[in-house]
Symmetry: C2
Subunit: 232 residues, 2 copies
Amino acid sequence: MINAIIIVSGGMDSVTLLHYLIKKKQMTPALLTFVYNQKHKKEIVYAKEQASLLKCTNHLVLDLSLLKPLFSSSSLVSSHIQVPGMTEVTGDPQPSTYVPNRNMIFLSLAVAYAENFGVSDIYYGAQKHDEYGYWDTTSDFLELLNHVYGLNRKIKVQVKAPFINYSKTDILKLGISLGVDYSKTWSCYNGESLACGVCPTCAERLKAFFNSGIKDPLPYKNEKNSPHPLIQ
Amino acid sequence: MINAIIIVSGGMDSVTLLHYLIKKKQMTPALLTFVYNQKHKKEIVYAKEQASLLKCTNHLVLDLSLLKPLFSSSSLVSSHIQVPGMTEVTGDPQPSTYVPNRNMIFLSLAVAYAENFGVSDIYYGAQKHDEYGYWDTTSDFLELLNHVYGLNRKIKVQVKAPFINYSKTDILKLGISLGVDYSKTWSCYNGESLACGVCPTCAERLKAFFNSGIKDPLPYKNEKNSPHPLIQ
């Protein structure tokens, strides 16, 4: 019996959250994954693989490619805008990697799905580090959003983000303890055959692996030239 | 130059709002209309006609038919659930005509569209009467939702509903004064060739026309048998 909805992108955070809910919390979630013209749509393959590994039969992949006109200002979607490196986004409170209102859209859809199942808990993989550039991953966002959903008169769905105060390193350590296979996750915004190693999410991911003393199982471009000690 | 986004369904309220923004407020809005497997999808024809009459060249009609699994509990979408009459929904704070989280989804998409245009005002046709069954048309909803959007770090989009304290009669009177052709709007949830005259939105619409002393130009089923004095 489905008792929660979880948004799973196929990245480290949401995949770890999925393992956490199933293995630690004994939940039976329905999974939602979104296609939205992201350059890194290969993440979806991993979302599907993880669902399959965990025997989650209830996995809805929604193809929202038609939303392209809404997201054209984002470097995660537009072919005309290059994905910036981590150093280029530092200090920008809303860099080009921000996808306009994406999290609200995805969470709104997840809430409708929850109402459909008659369940009141939705989970997504917001984590502490993303606060630097994304207003829609913060504790304030979560609190105010849940005030809105508290107005529903039958199913007061609430959005939960258990990792919202976790660093990516905390998430990785938890995931390792839960046996997550990180070779079956994808982060790099560029979505090429090898991870770039320099975009904001690669930088975050590599730092988490470095801090945890583990080598990232994903292959990176220019491993030999990388300044990062663990991928030299 | 686009300076606002408006959600136009093709119903009385949003069509009147569109005329109001253009004729009274001299705005140049971009229009958004949604297809979501609603039984009354003929409303979309009228949304397009009104856009054309008002020379709004920027009108995006998004086909969200793929969201059917999210909305299956609603009588506006599911072929297995009959649209109730007005008398059947009275006293139910969230009747079967409620589409799970639809307004949040549509507004979330409108916000992304606004961010894309770099504009901060979104309009939708919420009105006072719908408060009876729809939490997502109330002043509280609007206020709390705008708190969430106040967190955006670049474009603090705000959702506006100028008719939120208007009755449908107020809206109709305003629309008549603005020259709105209500034969080119659609309300009935059943979406058949003739309006049913008994579903909640027909009842509201007929009452507004009755209160205004005007005959609704739309054809209704069983006009001869109708208890309503103006459609007898």
